[in-house]
Symmetry: C2
């Protein structure tokens, strides 16, 4: 079986670490592995399949001779992504930089796998909240069409990286000890609080995070007629995002029908048995690759609509798992870069 | 100024304690004060205006000669509420037992104060999430009408009483220490988790909490044509509920218009200045009597619709403050019970 030369950029961050973990679990055919990051993290040692790798500072030559570059996100994508693609490396990028570029496919493998085929060197990994929503939406869409979506998110601190994760612990300890809480990564205390402010504010007073859910979903679904409105909120949870999703469908769909199509859809675990207290929660969806879907109800206020409650690991399906799945598609479809 | 004989039933619980606090802060004209609870709490001592009161076990004779009974909620309401009313005491009840009874007014003083006037001995205090939602909804309703509401809640543990509050602390400490978490009041670990299950499951797989928001809102607003669909979720926050509310109005309302009517409405603090990081949060709305409203945006997916984000203290406006405000109305309108 062929093996590939893989470079992970931003390897030492929360998403980077998770990418290594997922590559190993999925037995991705990694031949050579190179781990890169900013100079601040260079020299760190990381484990992959029992071997120790030293993190190097990312430079243009880091990409020479590599097949696949997995960018964990951040400023490196803009700086090195196009350059890596020019060198014939297929870039799978977790930053928001290229997502809405019409020359760049934006891919969730369960939803629009074929888009991988037309890449021109860069394939974008969508926003975490978008990925988690679009998987169940696609199941509904294929069965009944979608007119409009109203979504409210409950987003874990892992979305703000390793610093977000440690800040939740620090803030929590400070509150319990009665000490002063000092926000750094977050705008305010995140322990025992909710912050309805993720990423920067943009037009119409929506945050960039909220617009990402709107625009990226339409691009992934190839349908600009879907109306989507979002309210995104940071919650004191470590690593699984949850979403309360109201979907207005084109044709009437019963809750039973919705359960059936969702249960059959790839990448979804249906967890919808209220009488046995079974519903998605951040606690039990963490460290899993799937999107957990439950609390499926026909909307009592509108005939062609459904409510559902969704949870999925932000670092896994929301980032690393989706990126590695894209890399698997690149291999499956034989569309590596040309050198 | 006239003074009134007030009995608080369930005085030692989270809501009961808050009722005493609010009576004192609002300088409610308390003449005699009697504190009652179950036998389990009888004998406890509590402070009111610097004086110590001993909690007595609630019995039928507890209500003899009293003017106003504030029931904090729970089983006592059903057992003693009608009996107290028969004795000529005005019962203001925080349980869900009488709320949908057509013979019992369900009152949020900023929304339907006049309903106090037709009470027949019992006035019901609405569900906490309902109160917090209906105050801003009424402002919108009066200005532009309401067709439909899609709401997702982020509910504090105080909604599960004093045990809910202590369980969040216990679970949090256990997680940080790596100890086993033992849920008692909640279905699962609540620290660093979200539980989409408040109260029992009922028809169409909605929880009772979700139906309360639907049915109580229509009753308070005197309008059964408003479509309301709710998803209610417990979050690891101590005492302020938050809600993401999407409102479809009858006529188009701009975000600026909505801000104007909300700012003017009694009981609301408009906190909507994203560029200065001002928006409602549980942390800063706790221990306040008002409903904080912000993140007001025209819905980008529908012409006549708005999104907003609301937070308010569950024990205050969601329970004790609203109950004491109702008691104030009873006095203002001169509609005490007849003995």
């Amino acid at each position: 079986m062929a093996q590939y030369k893989v470079i992970v950029v931003g390897a030492s961050g929360a998403v980077g670490q998770e990418i290594l973990q997922v590559l190993e679990e999925k037995k991705f055919p990694v031949g050579d592995l190179k781990l890169c990051a900013t100079s601040r993290s260079a020299g760190k040692e990381m484990l992959f399949k029992g071997n120790t790798y030293k993190v190097e500072e990312t430079t243009p030559s880091s990409f020479d001779g590599m097949d696949i570059a997995l960018f964990a996100g951040g400023a490196a994508s803009k700086e090195f992504g196009p350059l890596a693609a020019e060198k014939g490396v297929v870039v799978i990028d977790n930053s928001s930089h290229f997502r809405l570029d019409p020359e760049v496919p934006l891919v969730v493998p369960e939803v629009n796998p074929e888009d991988v085929k037309w890449h021109k060197g860069i394939i974008a990994n969508p926003n975490c909240s978008t990925i988690i929503m679009v998987v169940p939406l696609k199941a509904i869409y294929d069965a009944a069409g979608i007119k409009r979506v109203v979504v409210s998110t409950y987003q874990a601190v892992s979305g703000a990286g390793a610093e977000g994760i440690s800040e939740l612990t620090e803030h929590t300890k400070a509150v319990l000890a009665g000490d002063e809480v000092v926000p750094a990564k977050f705008q305010y205390q995140i322990a025992f609080n909710l912050i309805p402010h993720i990423d920067v504010f943009q037009e119409m007073d929506y945050t960039k995070e909220e617009w990402k859910m709107v625009k990226e979903t339409c691009k992934i679904m190839h349908d600009d007629t879907i109306g989507i409105t979002a309210t995104t909120v940071r919650v004191p949870v470590y690593r699984s995002h949850s979403e309360s999703i109201n979907v207005e469908t084109k044709r009437k769909m019963t809750a039973a029908e919705a359960r059936e199509v969702l249960a059959k859809f790839p990448g979804i675990i249906l967890e919808d048995d209220p009488s046995n207290k079974k519903y998605p929660m951040p606690l039990f969806s963490s460290n899993h690759d799937e999107v957990f879907v439950g609390r499926i109800r026909e909307d009592n206020s509108l005939d062609h609509a459904l409510n559902m409650w969704v949870a999925a690991d932000q670092l896994r399906k929301g980032a690393a798992t989706n990126a590695v799945q894209i890399a698997e598609l690149v291999i499956k479809y034989g569309c590596l870069g040309k050198r």
